[in-house]
Subunit: 215 residues, 2 copies
Amino acid sequence: MSRVDYSLYLVTDRRWAGERSLAEIVRAAVAGGVTCVQLREKNLDTREFIRMAEELLGVLKPARVPLIINDRVDVALAAGADGVHLGQIDMPIAVARRLGPPDWVIGVSAESLADAVAAEQAGADYIGVSPVFATPTKTDTAPPLGLDGLRAIRAAVQTSLVAIGGIHSGNAAEVITAGADGLAVVSAILAADDPQAAAQELRNIITLTQGEKDE
Amino acid sequence: MSRVDYSLYLVTDRRWAGERSLAEIVRAAVAGGVTCVQLREKNLDTREFIRMAEELLGVLKPARVPLIINDRVDVALAAGADGVHLGQIDMPIAVARRLGPPDWVIGVSAESLADAVAAEQAGADYIGVSPVFATPTKTDTAPPLGLDGLRAIRAAVQTSLVAIGGIHSGNAAEVITAGADGLAVVSAILAADDPQAAAQELRNIITLTQGEKDE
């Protein structure tokens, strides 16, 4: 899949979905302007993980929004997802590239400048820069890179950068200005009372800020 | 891989390996007569799981003993293992068959006669009949099938049966007589002071009992 639009990248997490179904929230988020979705689930049986991926694909394929699976290449292959997102302790990118179809989108998490350079050299389609700010969603992360860390990575690599960690409408513009091609959010959309409105607000900030960058 | 010898089937589990390396125990077990090995790990990072599979393949390939990976089709594909073992909550067998190479060995766990019949109809290469007896190794299992349950499954399906759950040298002969083509063991070998001798003892019982069945 070429020319993926990473600009508003939703990372799903059942824990934030509460009593609503994940598919329902994702559908609303896409209506609000989400351009890419990652399904991230830990401690889920393989069969149920595949079923959830298939359910999300039912929402995303008609909208032409790609679905990326976190870590699990088997789940991505089984469900026919558009690619995988790999952490530093997941499958090496070269192996995932060999196992997946040629047009797979493969993203790699980078928690440092060195990680980002290595991910680019390994052929990542995009790099998840993580965490930019402190975040309540993940507790096992490295220290925040901050906007300075993001700028340093932007200066060092050409690959698309998706910033993640503590991003919300209050800081979205400065993250894009610092060099991110996309904003990855979890709670800013999943925990919102109105996920569509939350996505739309971020979408508007992204469109405005990218317009300013291009001038 | 055709004509797999399932007769002495070791299921590995780091928790029983103690301070010895799993590869070291597996090497001793194969020297004692283990004919098939399943790597079963939960809560292990994907990269480390692949590394462990590759380490075991380094021991098993020269001995021409197949390595089967529990649940994780991605790990099996990445490491080049000989197949996968699928539980009822893992990937459906038809999907694993599509993703793996044509000669992959795919085993399916059956906790009932109905499971076993379904696994045969789905094309399993072997059926893991589980648990035959109560076992300390897994605590989330169905009630024991007993020798009567094993005999009922033997009467209903033609597929190779690997019996698992509470099997040791004291009951090995009766499990084979009841219809098992193979005995799967965990603690009987992994927790033994001398894994090679423990495997050899089971190997001798299997050879003797299979000889009596064939007469």
